[in-house]
């Protein structure tokens, strides 16, 4: 029978069928392997259920570990919008207000709004933090809600032109530095006749957009759209509109010209005081979030008095900024020796050198200014007023304030805190808030010159903001300054923090330039010496201190502080003859190079580095060596703790991180559980069923949660899902950019703002949040500047730590990112970032230090780039500095993990990372740790420590809100995985059967042909 069916005629049919299905089976197997290898990422992306919890323990509202003040998503959003607007009201900076052009009084609010951006202003940048789909409220409706009458015909024209695509800004960053930006402003000639309607004021919205993955154009934009191809200059069309507005103002058609600078990437400010443009008032509003435009309208109307202060130096022209000589993309000379070490998204043959050292932003402009005034030799030519439009910390008000009764006192015998007391009086006519800033000047000594320690003329060390002061009202502010801020990092001498011998000045000031003028005045300098304005010597106190290299040589944890970044300093890295001359105030003239000309042309003044065999070797991913260290215990049944047991002991006291109970719980974990926990981390921490650890949701959001409240329902233990809230499909509020948050200079408000965001997280089921972005505004061209706070490390740290306290009070642990030196987007994946240790510790690391030490931030996210030649995840500082020195309690996750398929083709290494303080990949790497099951005791212990940190962090979070010791976690295989296996099985069976059929047919045909020559 079988032989009849499988005859010679059907042999070829079976052969074809077998052939086709073997090929299909192979393809299905390969595809299935790829899919299942990345299943955590796929599950995360599509919010697919992988586990659920069953709770037999009793939970009521009172037993919740973290509670919300609100009863519904609607209430949470109303609260979030309230704080969004509060932040914008207090964060917008009044740059200019000639003749009290602002506010626009009632009865004088008939306005024409200009620029194509008015109908599509920038609410947030782009990228992982800008993906919130909470739609920004329209500018016109925002203005009208505050009593403005908006030129409707002009508005409609802009609306149509923008929606039809005739004009309109486009802006998105694309990975690899290939950003796509355009301004596409409508020229004056294209505008309708309504442009010349009579109006009390013309409001010009000047918008620029930045985002993740690429920096904005320095000189490579479309020159017909951007002056000199530079995204941060006024475009030809913008100039055209502004010049025509000036004509309208001159002929009385419009009353005044107001500019709203709607960008964190600062547009060159030289036009603001150029009489040709006739700008009367200017407000920096940053990226305002979804409802912040209402607050801008409040400020324009005078319902709110602006009290924001600049978090960056505003340059008249960016080419004056020496950072631009070493920003962006430079390739090693002789880079071909490195090529074989690089994978497709490893830009290790690119580098950036922070040649400016500590002289970043105001620390450059104010220091060089002081040295000009004091006639320090080799200062060179430097015209402060030509370079700086508005200094760091600057901001005007609709009222005026005076300082009096300034008392600055040294620490008492039993502490190390300097105290600055200032009485602020509102001397104007309307209520307002004032920011008092405290700046420190350290002595720049012969020791410093010898050991290459640099000192800025002023450094921000503290600030405070008054509450609302009525006209004539006074308030005393007390600002504490920690003595450790007096220390400087001496990388080339003591190798730790030192106090120099000499005179230290503390001053209360309105901004950085005011501060340096105060100190100059205290030193006896006057306007006749070249000062831009007189200082107030009475606002200054000085302290004579002795040299001390011990006092600040230990961290808050008692850890000895020593050089940890020598391999990031070209001059200390021993693998090359390359040398860098950092900018030094000892010789401004020869050490300061500008990177651009006035027309944005590259001067090629960047530091040139040559690749060497050592660098080529060192950029390779390290592979841990095997060792004889005995492995930890796995799968112990001696105890049966659940994660919920680890929160508190029988007396209700918290169980500390170093409790022996944790060791027992860790002993319970099997190798496979440990492996799974540490291999899957893309926007989550993995469930561990045996200890009832739920899967968590840890998602993007430097500007608030980016997913709908009810996203990922099965793993979402947020209140929106728990209460089946009718608005759970809506998106949380898009909060204002962090630069605007920092510009409030109001830590108390920011902490409340953090609580509002914490409530959002609690309702959205966010157990962890990938934010805040605390990298530094090293350049205005940084694509991701909107996620970051400031050019100043102390301000970034003090504000972010307040925000951290707020959000973590609701049980959502924060991942501070991107640790470290990820201050540009160009070639961020693997670029070698070189900087000296003084600048790293005093500027770039400072926000992380303050957020962790003061704010209690649980976690950090490491960066894509290399620190020197080593990827941040295994450079070592995550362990030695972030954890050991700063005492971070939680864990370090990588930036998006590039190590698919076993991780070979990437510079990131999970095992080497584990050995150096990196705990979890933001991605899947199921195979990379498998081979460490035997013979790598050190890696195994590092895995245990990483698991400890993750479990501890989760145990303290709102993930445990509804978890009791009776809870069980049930892991489930997603339906798509079952489908993949089923498809593989079906194709395998068909391929197998057809193959057998073919061979049987072949055998039968042989039998029939027995005796015949096969070739006959």
């Amino acid at each position: 029978m079988l032989e009849k069916i499988l005859n010679g005629k059907t042999k070829k049919i079976y052969k074809v069928i077998a052939n086709v299905f073997v090929i299909l089976f192979g393809i299905v197997l390969a595809a299935g392997y790829v899919l299942t290898s990345n299943q955590s990422a796929i599950n995360s992306y599509f919010s697919i259920q992988t586990s659920y919890t069953e709770n037999s323990g009793e939970i009521d509202e009172d037993s919740l570990l973290f509670k919300s003040e609100f009863k519904s998503v609607k209430e949470v959003k109303e609260n979030a919008e309230k704080y969004t607007q509060e932040i914008v009201r207090e964060g917008v900076v009044l740059l200019k207000n000639d003749n009290d052009a602002l506010p626009l009084a009632e009865g004088h609010r008939n306005v024409s709004v200009f620029s194509i951006s008015c109908v599509n202003y920038v609410a947030a940048g782009t990228g992982s933090s800008g993906t919130n789909k909470d739609k920004p409220k329209g500018m016109k409706s925002s203005l009208e809600s505050r009593g403005f009458t908006v030129n409707a015909d002009l508005w409609s024209w802009y609306k149509n032109a923008e929606s039809e695509g005739t004009y309109g800004r486009k802006g998105t960053s694309v990975e690899g530095g290939g950003s796509v930006f355009s301004i596409r402003e409508a020229p004056w000639s294209a505008l309708p006749a309504a442009k010349s309607n009579r109006a009390d004021a013309a409001i010009f919205v000047l918008s620029r957009n930045g985002g993740e993955g690429g920096d904005v154009y320095i000189n490579n934009g479309d020159s017909s759209d951007m002056t000199d191809g530079n995204y941060l200059k006024l475009s030809p069309q913008e100039k055209d509109v502004l010049l025509n507005l000036k004509t309208l103002k001159d002929n009385g058609t419009i009353g005044k010209i107001i500019v709203l600078m709607n960008s964190v990437n600062q547009v060159e400010c030289d036009f603001l005081d150029d009489a040709a443009f006739g700008v009367d008032a200017a407000l920096w509003i940053g990226d305002v979030g979804s409802t912040g435009m209402y607050a801008v309208a409040d400020v324009l109307a005078g319902e709110s008095n602006p009290s924001g202060r600049l978090t960056d130096t505003f340059w008249r022209k960016h080419y004056y900024n020496p950072v631009m000589a070493n920003f962006g993309d430079h390739v090693y000379q002789n880079s071909e020796v490195m090529k074989s070490s690089l994978a497709a998204r490893d830009f290790g043959d690119h580098y950036v050198v922070y040649q400016e050292g500590i002289y970043l932003g105001y620390k450059y402009t104010e220091t060089r200014y002081e040295d000009v005034v004091t006639r320090r030799p080799k200062t060179g030519s430097f015209d402060y007023e030509e370079v700086v439009s508005y200094p760091f910390g600057y901001g005007l008000s609709y009222t005026s304030f005076e300082y009096s009764g300034i008392e600055i006192t040294a620490p008492a015998a039993d502490d190390d805190v300097y105290t600055v007391k200032v009485t602020v009086t509102n001397t104007g006519k309307i209520p307002g808030k004032e920011v008092v800033q405290v700046y420190l000047q350290k002595p720049y000594t012969d020791y410093d010159i010898e050991h290459k320690v640099e000192k800025a003329a002023v450094e921000l060390v503290g600030f405070a903001k008054t509450d609302m002061l009525a006209a004539g009202e006074s308030r005393e502010l007390t600002i504490s300054v920690d003595g450790s801020l007096f220390a400087s990092y001496d990388a080339y001498g003591a190798g730790t923090y030192i106090l120099d011998a000499g005179k230290y000045y503390l001053t209360a000031a309105k901004n950085a330039h005011d501060a340096v003028n105060n100190i100059l005045a205290a030193k006896g300098y006057r306007e006749a010496d070249g000062m831009t304005e007189a200082g107030d010597a009475s606002a200054v106190a000085d302290f004579e201190l002795a040299f001390d290299a011990e006092k600040y040589g230990k961290s808050v944890t008692g850890q000895k502080i020593e050089n940890r970044f020598s391999n990031a300093d070209v001059n200390l890295y021993d693998g090359t003859d390359n040398k860098v001359t950092y900018i030094s105030r000892n010789d401004w003239e020869s050490t300061t190079k500008l990177g651009l000309t006035e027309t944005s042309a590259d001067t090629n003044n960047h530091v040139v580095l040559k690749a060497t065999a050592k660098i080529a070797q060192d950029i390779k991913k390290p592979v841990p060596e095997s060792d004889d260290t005995p492995y930890p215990t796995y799968g112990s049944t001696e105890t049966s703790y659940k994660l919920a047991d680890m929160r508190a002991d029988e007396n209700g006291d918290p169980i500390p991180y170093d409790s022996p109970l944790w060791e027992q719980l860790l002993d319970q974990l099997t190798w496979d559980e440990m492996l799974a926990l540490l291999s899957h981390g893309q926007r989550l921490t993995y469930a561990v069923a045996s200890i009832a650890k739920p899967q968590t949701i840890d998602h993007n959001g430097a500007n608030g949660p980016v997913q709908p409240y009810g996203d990922n329902k099965s793993n979402n233990h947020g209140f929106a899902v728990a209460t089946d809230d009718p608005d759970m499909s809506s998106y949380p509020t898009l909060y204002p950019c962090n630069a605007l948050v920092a510009a409030t200079f109001n830590a108390e408000l920011v902490e409340e703002f953090g609580v509002a965001m914490g409530n959002d997280c609690l309702w959205a089921g966010y157990n962890g949040i990938y934010g805040f972005g605390i990298n530094i505004h090293r350049s205005a061209y940084g694509g991701r500047d909107y996620e970051y706070y400031s050019e100043d490390g102390v301000l970034s740290g003090l504000i972010s730590s307040a925000e951290v306290k707020g959000i973590q009070s609701k049980g959502t642990y924060v991942y501070m990112k991107h640790c470290l030196l990820n201050d540009q987007e160009t070639y961020r994946e693997g670029i070698c970032t070189w900087a000296n240790e003084q600048s790293i510790r005093e500027i770039y690391l400072k926000p992380f230090e303050i957020s962790i030490v003061e704010g209690g931030a649980y976690n950090v996210m490491s960066s894509f780039n290399r620190i020197g030649v080593k990827w941040s995840g295994h450079q070592g500082f995550l362990q030695t500095v972030i954890k050991d020195e700063f005492g971070m309690r939680g864990f370090a996750v990588t930036d998006y993990y590039l190590g698919m398929m076993g991780g070979k083709q990437t510079y990131m290494s999970l095992p080497a990372g584990l050995l150096n303080g990196s705990d979890l990949p933001d991605g899947d790497s199921a195979e990379e740790l498998v081979s460490y099951k035997t013979g790598y005791g050190n890696v195994a212990w590092a895995m245990r420590e990483a698991a400890h940190r993750i479990l501890y962090t989760v145990s303290q979070s709102n993930a445990m809100n509804t978890v009791t010791a009776e809870m069980t976690v049930v892991t489930i295989t997603p339906a798509w995985v079952i489908a993949v296996v089923a498809v593989e099985a079906i194709f395998g069976v068909i391929a197998g059967l057809s193959f057998i059929a073919y061979w049987l047919a072949f055998a039968f045909s042989l039998k029939r042909d027995k005796g015949n020559d096969l070739s006959a």
Binding site: G26, V174, E175, A343, A344, R345, G899, Q905, L1014, A1016
Partner: protein, 141 residues
Amino acid sequence: MEKIKKYFQQRGAGFYLTASAALLSIIVAIVYIVGYTGSVYFYWFVFLMPLFAAAAFVAMAPFRFLGHLSAFVTGIIDFIMLLLFIVYFIPYLTGIFYSGITMQAIASLDFAFVFTLFGTITAIVLANIGMYLSHARKEKA
């Protein structure tokens, strides 16, 4: 010499197609090792499996029965290699096409990658066709 000549004269189209597949497999292995040796994209299996495919053909072709199977064996080894090659080069491809599939990205693909990919596919197709064709000419009566 005459025997060898006769041997080749008696081979059919299937033999020559499979031989071409085997030869192409060897070239693929050489191009791959030249292009990727010492780099993070070097995998021994990508180098060795085409050589195994060619060796299998050389070892099986002289025999009457096995000669018929040589196309299948050569093709299947190349096919397995192709699947593994693609699986292991997915990170490379995601890196190249991270910003979208553009002409610029396509142009930046390594020659060794392109040759290995299309050379192997061609070898599989040749071997596959070889499976359906005679490997030895019928002797005239």
